[in-house]
Subunit: 281 residues, 2 copies
């Protein structure tokens, strides 16, 4: 069980920012990543549909209930995490960590009686999932939630550093910034790509909680013996060094692997090494 | 065959602008609409995946090859039209009309030796499908193509009339506007929603071709006996008048009908009347 890889799934490629954080933080672990690129995004779909997709992917990654192929499941997609994490935790034979839970835990620890802000897609904010978690974990904290639906398309347009993105960010974050939150949760996998723009608007007094580091922190607690060590600089995907001929990540996606490889580099910080396999349900 | 409905399909709800145009232009016809809301959008997916989805939906709408349930198939989604229209036309027992072909035909007729501009999603522009059609239909015309990927999310954010949308439109359309095109094809079902903003930037000398009217024109030619009559004002969906108790449109979608009904009103100009059925593949 200990030697099994950690399963990570996302609605598409945004979850690669989470995988990147896990690869950095857990140099001794192997991973299996599933990106549902044929049905992305989840943020605009109904809970029923997102739950159905999440169950299909989880079943694929876990394989046999009696002899699971992964030792843990990380849900890197905020929407899937909001909708399916608790349900899958009950149904699956392995521990389940959702980005939402991980982010809320870290924020609650940082500002148990302060002001916690969260920004995410419309679907995640509408689900109130962050607010619910934070009410449990930090009942004394004040919580502000703000949907920022245009951030994902702006990042995907390549406008991470662009006047329009700064203008949109000012519109979305103006009210939130005035409240000077102690902590701001980036509740969407794409948002770390425009962290600089966000930081400039909310100001330096606000500590930013991003999913990759929050999830790594959570995994540490749940997998005994895992050593969290932040490795600065380039992350090793395995196949590049002679000492580890087996790539550390196996990629499975539901749409064209060639397109995935192109865009994956942006989110992963380097091209994905090893096979990228097409898997359809 | 004559009494059968016309099948219309789209990746989601954008195609309702095309349906709206058809309902107006063809008061004597009935329609079956399929919106693939569980897998929307198609514009970011590979051709293989879009073709697979299109075939599934076409098979559902046509039913039996020997005894088709529709008399014609209209592909209201530009991406699906670009990828699948020619292939489905060969495979299906009914005529197939794609929005791309319809738009290109109308533009070619208007400016056979002029400058024709086309704006669409990244996938549609990358496929060069409009350019290919226009080269055949108007070999003397000059064609300019421009991808406008942020227009769809801006419309869906409800920012159709917003300073950010005007700024984004100026960035996308600046080069195109300088060329003073004779015709501009709105190559995406969402774009008619920001037609005013687009018109102000390109100027009054440019005639705008929108898919709804281009498709209605095309259907007229292909369905013998169909009378094209533009009915001003509100369109009748049938069930509202005692004389036609049967709704003129049957809606099928792949995600939550309740959500569909909410957003459909925006694109259709009025709430969808009659049953909206959930259909999964």
């Amino acid at each position: 069980m200990k030697n099994l890889p950690i399963g990570v799934f996302d609605s598409g490629i945004g979850g690669l920012t989470v995988l990147r954080g896990l690869l950095r933080a857990l140099p001794g672990e192997r991973f299996v990543y599933f990106g549902d690129t044929a049905r992305v995004p989840y943020g605009t779909k109904s809970s029923e549909t997102v739950l159905r997709y999440s169950r299909e992917i989880a079943a694929f990654l876990v394989g046999s209930v009696k002899k699971p192929k992964i030792k843990m499941l990380v849900i890197a997609c905020n929407t899937a995490s909001a909708v399916a994490a608790k349900i899958l935790a009950k149904e699956l034979p392995v521990p389940v960590i959702g980005v939402v839970e991980a982010g809320a835990q870290q924020a609650a620890k940082m500002a148990p009686a302060g002001t916690i802000a969260v920004i995410a897609t419309k679907a995640t904010i509408k689900s109130s999932v962050y607010v619910k978690y934070l009410k449990q974990l930090a009942p004394k904290a004040r919580v502000i939630a703000q949907a920022c639906p245009l951030f994902v398309p702006l990042v995907e347009e390549g406008w991470s550093d662009h006047p329009v993105t700064r203008q949109v960010a000012r519109i979305y974050l103006n009210f939130l910034a005035k409240r000077k939150p102690d902590v701001l949760i980036l509740g969407c996998t794409h948002y770390p790509m425009i962290q600089d723009t966000i930081e400039k608007i909310v100001g330096r007094q606000t500590v930013i909680v991003d999913s990759p580091s929050a999830v790594a922190d959570c995994v540490k607690k749940m997998v005994p013996g895992t050593i969290i060590k932040m490795v600065p600089g380039t992350i090793s995907l395995g196949a590049q060094t002679p000492s580890s001929a087996i790539p550390r990540v196996k990629f499975f996606i539901s749409d064209d692997p060639a397109r995935f490889k192109q865009t994956a580099t942006l989110f992963l910080g380097q091209p994905p090494v090893g096979a990228v396999k097409l898997t359809r349900f």
